[in-house]
Every structure is written in structure tokens, then in C-alpha cells.
Symmetry: C2
Subunit: 427 residues, 2 copies
């Protein structure tokens, strides 16, 4: 890994890549086709891109039961325990409404309700991500979303992975369809004969899925558009180079554009981590991906002081930040911007990906400055409530009419005053 002095780095902040105009156009065409042709388009695209002959888009009860039966019981237990941890964490995010009542009988307030339906996209193909099912579905369930739908691209034999179906089964989700890519997002946004449209779409995916989510955004809600995975680690001499290297590589194996960054004041540690990364990289199954990520986006930054490292981390606002220092919990307090902070030696990043209970859908590309993990809040909405009593209207109508006229909105002023007409008539 390259080792650079922080003081000589121009900007360490990461920004997102751009799609090509061809990709954008292709996605627009796919969405239009699904809107026009519905199920027929989904079935044709499944043949074209997933090489799968589908008669039914929906996964049958039998398919789910068979997948669960085939699935390793130990892994089923692991997923169940992970689901419990995730639920326990997210249950803390439930929101209540409120109501502020005045002596004159007026009240204003906020009513919090769940959205009516959510669609989760689960990437498929060579890999399958049961953890994505847990991380997207559980916040929606904790929010109380009545209808939760899963879409995932089928394998060539028309099946979805046992792991994905098992995870869905654990959560009691059985509305699952076989469709992937931009076409799946279009189906969720606008509906087809088989798939009723949803109000919000969440879940990871490739560039086509991301573009499709951007395209339908506004007609339905979407979660964030996730960029390549990122890890930054602040470490001092008390940390172990092989553990740091292993954690840096855990994100590097995700994507050739993933970013792995070490921030340290210790040159000896920097060199040792760099050597360890090389050593461990040589033995990884996803070596070529991790190699591309480490060479392209992996950097060890050397700072003079811990404060400089903290500043750099805040500038970076990384998706995942590990702190492996003598006073990790104290140093963590100084971090202003990060998606998730992993404190101390035993808090290896994959613990958050799978098990600790926090959400693994996190802001990338320095957007942790203003964005947050996927959460229960993403599946709730708030309605403002306003009730003015006759007394409150009487006390305030002139002020409100004046403010409306200040903005040149005469009809606003007259609307508030209109209640007066009858009062006067009655007198």
C-alpha cells in the first residue's frame, strides 16, 4: 500500500464516480419498457440477462419451504440470532408523535405513521446476500410497514438462493419475486400485473440498479445510492498490523473501487501493515478484486499527532471507521463524521456487517457529513396536525393576514379573514 504524509495530501475526501450516458439511456429504456409491457418485459429481461426461463415471477410457498429445508441448520441459527440483534438495535428507533395544546383550545402536533409498502432489492447471481435481507427488512418491520416485498434476480435455473429465501423466511416475508437489475426497480416503482407498486425502494445493487433508483426517485422514495465500500482505520502502536491488514482487506474484497485507508502516526506500524496487506492479499480467493481496490484506492496516511488523524477522519467521513488506539473510546468521541465507528481491537468491521445489530447500509463517498445508516426512520413519515380554535383564530387573524400581505399573497389574507364575515353577519 502506498504510504503518504497527511501534510502533503491535497484532498483526502472521496467523491462518487459517474455513470456513462449510455448506461443512463439504457436504464431509461428498460424502465419505459417495464411501464409499457409489465410482466412480459420482466420475463423477457430475465431470459436475456439472467438466462432464466420463468413461468411465474413470484416465488412459491413450496420453493421457500424447500430452500429452508435444504439450508444448513447451523447457518439458519446464525441468521436467526443476527436477526434478533438487528431487531433489538432497531427497536430503539421507533418514533412517537407529539401534540402541543394551548389554553385557547388550539393544538399543533406531529403524527408518525409507517409508509404502506416497501420493496427491497437483493442482488443475486454469483453471490447472494442474506444479510442484506435482514438489514433492509428489519427496520421496515420495526417501523410497522404492512407490506414488504423482496425482488432478486434468478439463477439460470430460475431459482433464488437458499440463503436469501431462508433469511426472508426467518422474518416472515413471503412476497418474493424473481427479477433483477433496472427492470426490478421499475416494477417496484410503477407496478406490473403481478407486482403491485411500492412506496419506497431500498437495497444495494450494481450501477444499473443505482441508476434506476435515481431515475424513479420522487415517484417513489428510495434509500441512499450507495457507492463502493469504504473503511478507514485510526491506529497507534498498540494495534496489531495483521489485524489492521485483515480489516482493510475485508472491505477491499467487496469491489475494485472499494477504499481502504489507514491513519496513523507510527511509521513502523505503517510499514508493517503494508507488508501484511501484501502477505494476506496473496492468499485471498477474491484476490484480483482486493488487489485492484488496494492499488487504486488504498492509502496509509502518516500524521504527526492524533488530532491530525482525527481531523483527517472527519474530512474523509468514511462509511466505516475503526479506532484501534490505546484510548479508543475517548478518541471515538472526537469523531464528527462517519457512518459507523468500531471501537477497540475486537470490533472488527464485519461484526457490524453481520451481527452486532447496527445497520450495514451506511453512507459512502463522504456523505456521512449529512447522511445516516438505513433505519426505522426511513420507513416512517410524519403528518403535521393543526387545529385552531375560534379564540385562537380571533387572537391571531390580523397578524396572519398582515404577514400574508407582506408577501403579496392577498388570497391568503382573505382566507384567514373569511371566517370573520359570518361572525359579523351573525351580530
Amino acid at each position: 500500500m502506498k504510504i503518504t504524509r497527511l501534510s502533503s495530501a491535497v484532498s483526502i475526501r472521496r467523491t462518487g464516480g459517474n455513470a456513462t450516458p449510455e448506461q443512463t439511456e439504457a436504464v431509461k429504456r428498460i424502465i419505459q419498457t417495464v411501464r409499457e409491457e409489465g410482466d412480459a418485459a420482466l420475463i423477457r429481461f430475465a431470459k436475456k440477462w439472467d438466462n432464466a426461463d420463468l413461468s411465474d415471477l413470484r416465488v412459491s410457498r413450496e420453493e421457500i419451504d424447500q430452500a429452508v429445508t435444504r439450508f444448513d441448520p447451523q447457518l439458519l441459527n446464525d441468521l436467526t440470532e443476527a436477526a434478533e440483534n438487528i431487531r433489538k438495535y432497531h427497536d430503539n428507533q421507533k418514533q412517537e408523535g407529539y401534540k402541543v395544546t394551548e389554553q385557547n383550545g388550539s393544538y399543533v402536533g406531529q403524527r408518525v405513521t409507517a409508509i404502506e409498502s416497501a420493496g427491497l432489492y437483493v442482488p443475486g447471481g454469483t453471490a447472494a446476500y442474506p444479510s442484506s435481507v435482514l438489514m433492509n427488512v428489519i427496520p421496515a418491520q420495526a417501523a410497522g410497514v404492512p407490506r414488504i416485498v423482496l425482488l432478486s434476480p434468478p439463477a439460470a435455473d430460475g431459482s433464488l438462493s437458499d440463503g436469501v429465501l431462508a433469511a426472508a423466511h426467518i422474518l416472515g416475508i413471503d412476497e418474493i419475486y424473481k427479477s433483477g437489475g433496472a427492470q426490478a426497480i421499475a416494477a417496484l416503482a410503477y407496478g406490473t400485473e403481478s407486482i403491485a407498486a411500492v412506496d419506497k425502494i431500498t437495497g444495494p445493487g450494481n450501477i444499473y440498479v443505482a441508476l434506476a433508483k435515481s431515475e424513479v426517485n420522487g415517484d417513489v422514495a428510495i434509500d441512499m445510492i450507495a457507492g463502493p465500500s469504504e473503511i478507514a482505520i485510526i491506529a497507534d502502536a498498540t494495534a496489531y498490523p495483521d489485524e489492521i491488514a485483515a480489516d482493510l482487506l475485508s472491505q477491499a474484497e467487496h469491489d475494485p473501487m472499494a477504499s481502504s485507508v489507514l491513519l496513523t502516526t507510527d511509521e513502523v506500524l505503517a510499514k508493517a501493515v503494508s507488508d501484511e496487506v501484501e502477505k494476506q492479499l496473496a492468499e485471498l480467493p477474491r484476490q484480483s478484486i482486493a488487489r485492484a481496490a488496494i492499488d487504486g484506492f488504498g492509502t496509509i496516511y502518516l500524521g504527526e499527532t492524533m488530532e491530525e488523524l482525527i481531523d483527517a477522519a472527519n474530512q474523509l467521513a468514511p462509511e466505516h471507521l475503526e479506532i484501534m488506539t490505546a484510548n479508543a473510546a475517548v478518541d471515538a468521541e472526537k469523531i464528527k463524521h462517519a457512518g459507523a465507528i468500531f471501537i477497540g481491537r475486537y470490533s472488527s468491521e464485519p461484526i457490524g456487517d453481520y451481527f452486532a445489530g447496527t445497520n450495514h447500509v451506511l453512507p459512502t463517498n463522504s456523505t456521512a457529513r449529512f447522511s445516516s445508516a438505513l433505519s426505522v426512520y426511513d420507513f416512517l413519515k410524519r403528518t403535521s396536525i393543526i387545529h385552531y380554535s375560534e379564540q385562537a383564530w380571533q387572537d391571531n387573524k390580523e397578524k396572519i393576514a398582515r404577514l400574508a400581505r407582506l408577501e403579496g399573497l392577498e388570497a391568503h389574507a382573505r382566507a384567514v379573514e373569511s371566517r370573520q364575515w359570518k361572525k359579523e353577519n351573525r351580530l
Copy 2:
């Protein structure tokens, strides 16, 4: 106004309009120019579109003080009282973090912090909107955002409106710049010599402002993209036709594309409201705007039952919904989707625009199905915190490694296991 039976209406849901490719291209060029040329571009564009010769982009302390001195003291009191109501309502939205601690010494939690900076765009030109200053700044202040900046287009004499500066003064905001349109959004997103970039941009604006916000979205956060204003009213025979008409017109005067809808089961009321709208329209200063809105997007829907009206309102998911019925508070409980609900005769919509305390930045185009009013939450972000103790790691590492391998992510499994190596070495 046209009167239509709900049973014969195909779809009452509203969808947003689209910008032309030329508008989109123009906005992209403006943003690029501001990124390349900074202040010089802002000054040139102010000359070109606002006809204003600017030497300084920033509003001076003197300009603010003079505006406040000139401003009507009664209106200053009205704005101050409105600001107090808005602050009282929004203070209820402050969010706390949480921490879930386990017996093995682990904890997971959520830390809630304010974003570091927010930029508010205030439209200018012929009208000025002091209420927009209050509605955007106060939630940011309640969240604890340390830096809040205002941008607004200058008049031809290079000034901003007294009302806007007075509202800013009331709130203690003095970082104010003279810049409008897409160029102002570009300056907020990427910064210039005079204006440091912000993390989130909020505030209303025309199509160019909306397009610019879409364009910079992701590099910075934005609030919603607001469509034309909307009001729907559910009314029965207990309501007064002239009051309903006045409230329908209060939204119609905003924009030729504003939508005003009445839902009722009472044909006599429907006819009376239609007549009243004509009568009141003829006397409005913004008659041509309101006329275009009423003719293009105004409808009275007749239903058979109150349930049918409620269903229609939920399908519409309007920005503003007034309920003027015998049991307004009870009927309001049945509404699932609306930006804000105004309950009862005296709760005329402009009360919420200016004074009641709720936010007037509300979801349009049926997005109340999944979106909410601008709020304190929009200016907060959450960081996940994960600390695993050695014991927790010991208890769970095998499960986590198995889940990682299930997803084909070997480096994830090895990262978690890596802590084991030293344990074994030590034994």
C-alpha cells in the same frame, strides 16, 4: 370549478411535471461556470439575470441594520411571534442517541449530531418570503447547526428585501449573500472565494433552482424538490361555501399549476363553492395566476359517502388537507397520507403557512405517502457505534465468520478470525 363524480374519476393522484432538456443543460452549464469561476460568475450572473451591479456578494451589517430600522415594527412583532411558535413546535423534534449495553461489556448505539452547515435559498425578485426564512432556519437552529447561511437574489439596486433581512435578524443570522437561481445553489454546494460550501441546501425556488438542487444532490444534501402548491378540502353541509372558496383560492394564487380540490358528498355545497370561487376570483390581485390554477387543476369531487372522500384524500396524499366537517377531529384520524391536516372551520390553511408553528415546507405531488414536512430531523445525522468486548468476540466470531463465508466473503471471515491468531500465540 369543474364538478366530477369520484366514481367516474380515473386517477386523482397528481404527478410532477418534467423540465425540458434545454433547462437541464442550462443549469449544468451554470453550475460548471460557478465551479470554475467562483465569485466572478456570481457577480456576472447577478448583472445578467437580476440586472444588479454588485461589488460585494455579502450583505453588510449596515444593510441588515438599516433594513430592520426601516421595517414596520408591527410586522417585526408579528414575525417575532411567528418565530416563537415555530421554535416551540420544532423544539419537540430534538432527537437523542441511545446505547444498548450487553453483560459481556459490548455496546451498540446511535450518536445523533447536527450537520455542520446549512444553506437556505430564499426566492426574491418581485416577491419576498420572510416566512421561508423562519421555516427553514428555525429547524436548523433547533438541530444545533453551527453555521447557517442565507442566499437570495438581489433587486436591481443590489438590495435584498427588508422583510427577508428582518426575519434573518430576528433569528440572529447574519451570513447572507446576494445570489439567486442555479448559480446560488452551485455556490452553496461547491463554494466560491466568498461563500464556503455547505453540507445541506434547503429552500424553495423556481424550476432552475429545483434542477440545480437535483444536480448537486449527493455532493451535498438537499431537502425535497417542491412541486406546485396543493390544497384538498373535505367538507360537509356544516361548512361555509365562501370559506371553502377562499381557502381553495389561497393556494391557487401561488402558481398557475397549483392544485385546489374539494371533496364532498353534498351537491348543493359543491355548486355553492363553485359559484363562490368565481365571485372571489374576480376580486383577487393575483387573479390571472389563480384563474389558471383553478381552470387547469381545480376540481370538486362528489362522493357517495364520507369513507369514499377519505379514500380519495389518501390517494391524493395532498400537501395541505383541510377537514371542515361536523366531526372533523374524528375524520382526521382516518387520514393516512397528507403533508399537513387542518382540522375544523377556524384552521384555515394560511395559519400553517405563517403562524401556527408547524413547518410550511411540505411534500407535494402525492409524495406525502412517503415524505414529511421539513423538520429538525433533516438537519441531524446519526452515527452508529459498535464496541465488541473480547468476550463478545469470543462468543460470536465463529457465527460471524460462517455468515461471511455464506456470502463468499472470505476476507470478512478472516478479519474477524484474525484476532484469534495472537490469542493462540500467547497461549
